[in-house]
Symmetry: C2
Subunit: 293 residues, 2 copies
Amino acid sequence: MFNTLCVIGVGLIGGSVARTARVQNLAARIVGFGRDQDLANLQLAKQLGVIDEFYLDIAAAVAHADCVVIATPVATTAAVLGLLKPHWSAETVYTDVGSTKGSVLAAAEAVFGYVPDNLVPAHPIAGGEQSGVSAAVEGLFAHKRLIITPVAGTDAGALAKVQAFWQGLGSVVSLMDAQHHDSVLAATSHLPHVLAFALVDMLGHKDEQSEIFKYAAGGFKDFTRIASSDPTMWAAICTANKQEILPLIEQLRTELAKIHALLAADDYAQLFATFAYAQTARERFLEQFERPV
Amino acid sequence: MFNTLCVIGVGLIGGSVARTARVQNLAARIVGFGRDQDLANLQLAKQLGVIDEFYLDIAAAVAHADCVVIATPVATTAAVLGLLKPHWSAETVYTDVGSTKGSVLAAAEAVFGYVPDNLVPAHPIAGGEQSGVSAAVEGLFAHKRLIITPVAGTDAGALAKVQAFWQGLGSVVSLMDAQHHDSVLAATSHLPHVLAFALVDMLGHKDEQSEIFKYAAGGFKDFTRIASSDPTMWAAICTANKQEILPLIEQLRTELAKIHALLAADDYAQLFATFAYAQTARERFLEQFERPV
């Protein structure tokens, strides 16, 4: 599909893009780019065969690349676009993997004054709480949804190439506008992460005073898995999408106040109805999760 | 260990007690008791070999039993103790599996006027979101914690027998008072369940308005697993332990207000510090979860 694929940021996601692109034969050559402090990770990526070569110099990294994947944390998108700008090529397609898409469009506008027509923002709904190239796996995107958020000026040819690339990686691709993406993901991903961090922050302090974690069970383990996610990445995602997340936090506080009131009033019937509705709603989610297409 | 083990309520937990007791040779004969509406489940339990016989009549069920395990939802404990009272035997030991222990002591006091010295309340910290005997498995309690909450008058011999029984089922047994148990479990189990139900109740209504669940990922799946738990059981647990749960819901609302304020004020440093503290605290939990003894 491509002669040279350049991955900016060879971590869990970027590394998995590279590994899968290799196996699926989507690029003849795969190179990585990182900063000086990423040297050890890039050396490991090359040693593991995830990439063929790496560069700490952006000009060398993107030379001859016909596809560039920006796979760095969302807070760095503007800086990365700033680095790419002097070398931006109309012959190349650009995509990213950021968890917030309004922020990517804003970064492009800040750097270029507009969104380049060959920048096709994307968000693979896949990942894990681990980070770094050692966590990267082939097949991470298989049967997982990926959302592309084109703008009015997006070039149809670039869109088609980027869509085909992500489908080649195994993704089930949907298109929607960036604002809708950010609203949906705030609910299904960002709010749950905030909640998991909030709960474990609160209980962690209790655990320091008197041991409680030793009596926590498997349900607690699953419920708090996402609180093991990278705090740098998540503080950045929350900041980038705060307009959507803030009202959801307020709605959840209202929901908790509702349950508090039901429980305080011994309104068993309504408490049961709330829990039963949630149980049914989760089954609806599970059915869709297990049959994503 | 016992000649006849009687399990009151042959569901996920009661059935797993029976299956494991059989494999571990803890009882020569295992019988089950249920209500008329439990007939199909009891027939299935017998058919699966989980129990040797079942009874819908309490007198027949507990005749010759030297150990009775009450494995019905916490809301039914007083009713079950009321059934057992006319047949209560000083030669028998009694234990239960309720997720709240203050409520079990209160039920005993309501029925007997005191806590019988051979009733040894217990709570196996194990389970799952499934229910019924078909979900019961041998080994459910292996390497899982179990908390026994004796009272001042608990008979030492009964306590020793019940403790040995649960250890024989594979549990790692701790002793603590019922109030402390209820406080710890409110934090590590009841509050997370309330939170999962609250989140999925809120998002389920959003999903009805515009599809959001189809874009939810594996993190959401794990985070909401406990929202698939039995709403009857959980509405009862919350009611039984509301004195502990209500203040925790308030504390969590305060915690969410704190994160809301940090995000609204773009206080990245404190937001990061909160998330990073939570990440570290979860690692502390995981280490203990993986090495429970």
